[in-house]
Amino acid sequence: MIEIKDLHKSYKMGSNSLHVLKGINFSVAEGELVSIMGSSGSGKSTLLNILGMLDEADGGSYTLDGVPIKNLNEKIAARYRNKFLGFIFQSFNLISYKNALDNVALPLYYQGIKRGERIDKAMSYLEKVGLADWAGHLPNELSGGQKQRVAIARALASDPKVLLADEPTGALDSKTSYEVMNLIQEINDEGRTILVVTHEPDIAAMTKRIVNLKDGRIIQDTPVNQVRALQNV
């Protein structure tokens, strides 16, 4: 599903540049649930942003579902993001003046789906994350866990190949974190490929594979025995 080879990324700051990713090689097969770990500043978010086409690598190759991702202009990148990827952020990134349902429906709007169908689909995803009753509520009327579940529903709405989650539980207490991880596991059980950035070992243990980053390099890549989140709830 994901294939990256010798990926490099540096940030230029004035005259000097900061080499953040120093040759990453890694691949993810369909249906995997991978966690990316590493200390702060090791380049986890940078890697995920490149995978999400929110940022561009300086060197190396990236293939997503057989499609080489390079030299994208904004328009094509937008289309690929919409079609291939779903994002889950630590800070939820819901649009504050839209209610839960409209937030979930937004990716469908950019797919050009008609309003009626959009609302129906969005509603079914809200049901899936158990928030059908909260459809009409604005984000600031929801708890952190609820917001993240709305965000997950939104990420799923466009039926993407891969879900990318950057510290999805970073802003949540442990009980809520496990609920969210349970949801992520369920989605993975249905066969969807998911990458989760985290620095919490218990969260990483709930995935099926841990990739460890240090100073822009992968130092460890091990399969794990998945801990079901439900046991901890």
Partner: protein, 415 residues
């Protein structure tokens, strides 16, 4: 444009920022308001001036004389120049083919006109039949002085509508009645009306020959008035009339032994030249008004542009989210442009309607000498609408361009 979702977005942001939207709108609305009111006043001035010119035939040339100011061929300055019938006849014959209407005028001083107990002081003049057309007068009753009256020295008069109303208070029909001018009986043969209004309608005309004979004028005339045959266009008419008036001026100076450079002895009031001056002035005023109006609108555009930039800045993170969810740059541009066009258009229409209402209801009340019925024609209204939409587009363009260029990764980091 007819995308429901996008309309919802716009209403959403507008609802969330009522004061800001109101202030933005105000600058555009007042810009349009000022533009339209200025244009209306410009139009009113044009109407007012056009009315001034309607008093007489638009191309009339009016010759009158004064006192010489220069010594010439041994003659002292300070001589009063008196035109004679011969001056008129010479010109009338010489330019027979070029002239449309011609008349000389003999003015009777102390024009007290009596009818029974009523009396009034009016401008009383002896004229030729053509004078009706030179004055642009229309007949309400009866007829104007004709050539036969002139030949037979008939004691007949044509009175203005105002004179009729003054003197014939209860009697409806003055035709055939006799009025006294300086004790002499004149039969009323017609009542005329004049676009110049009351001032022009308080005049009395009689045949030139009668006036000269009855009031001891000899063959003196006070003025001459001419119009030339219509030309193809204004420029040609103007050129012909300028040529003609120069020719008669020279002619008169020669017969009356006046220095060629004497400015005060002979004067020719050429309506076309006056008209041209006025219309040039009008055009300048119009340009000026447009200029001021457009500048006001530009100020409005800058205001809207600024506010849209702030809006875009505030919504940077949201734009990042939208991009992450698959919004193409074009759709972001559309979103921002749409909002600014919407705000400027609504505000502009409010300004437009307010100004039209003002012109509609207050306009007719304004009747000074140089402004009459200020109004805006349909094309101008249409132009302002076009300017509006353009303004909205310009105001939205820069912010939209900025919004579309924000990279999603940068936008998402925005706090």
């Amino acid at each position: 444009m007819f995308d429901l979702e996008r309309w919802e977005e716009i209403f959403e942001t507008i609802r969330k920022n009522k004061l800001r939207t109101f202030l933005t709108g105000l600058s555009v609305a007042s810009g349009i308001f000022i533009l339209v009111v200025l244009l209306g006043i410009g139009e009113g001035m044009r109407n007012g001036i056009a009315q001034e010119f309607e008093r007489d035939a638009a191309n009339i040339m009016y010759v009158y004389t004064g006192v010489t100011s220069k010594e010439y061929k041994g003659l002292n300055p300070g001589r009063r120049i008196q035109m004679k019938n011969e001056d008129f006849n010479y010109t009338a014959v010489k330019y027979q083919d070029d002239l449309e209407y011609r008349s000389s005028i003999y003015r009777i001083w102390n024009g007290i006109v009596n009818f029974g107990k009523e009396s009034g002081s009016y401008r009383v003049e002896g004229v030729y039949p053509d004078y009706q057309f030179l004055e642009n007068s229309g007949m309400v009753e009866g007829r104007f002085v004709n050539f036969k009256d002139h030949q037979n020295f008939e004691k007949v008069v044509v009175v203005g509508d105002k004179v009729r109303n003054d003197l014939f208070k209860d009697k409806k029909d003055p035709i055939g009645e006799y009025v006294q001018i300086s004790g002499v009986n004149f039969k009323v043969i017609g009542v005329f009306t004049d676009p110049g209004g009351e001032r022009e309608e308080s005049r009395v005309f009689m045949p030139l020959s009668t006036a000269q004979r009855v009031f001891g004028g000899g063959n003196n005339i006070a003025n001459m008035a001419f119009t030339l045959e219509p030309a193809e266009n204004f420029e040609a008419a103007l050129a012909a009339s300028t040529r003609f008036s120069e020719a008669i001026e020279n002619q008169l100076k020669e017969t009356h032994t006046i220095a060629p450079d004497d400015e005060s002895a002979i004067s020719i009031n050429n309506s076309l030249e006056n008209a041209k001056r006025f219309f040039d002035l009008m055009d300048m005023i119009k340009f000026f008004f447009w200029g001021v109006g457009i500048c006001t609108i530009i100020a409005g555009i800058v205001g809207v542009s600024n506010i849209m930039l702030i809006i875009v800045k505030e919504r940077t993170r949201e734009i990042g989210i939208r991009k992450a969810l698959g919004a193409e740059p074009l759709s972001i541009v559309g979103m921002v442009l749409h909002e600014s066009i919407f705000v400027t258009a609504i505000a502009g229409f409010i300004g437009l309607i307010a100004s039209l209402l003002l012109l509609e209801f207050v306009g007719p009340l304004i009747e000074t000498q140089y402004i009459s019925n200020p109004s805006v024609n349909f094309n101008v209204a249409l132009t302002t609408v076009f300017i509006l939409v353009l303004a909205g587009a310009i105001a939205g363009f820069f912010p939209a361009w900025r919004a579309a260029r924000i990279r999603p990764i940068v936008a998402l980091r925005d706090e």
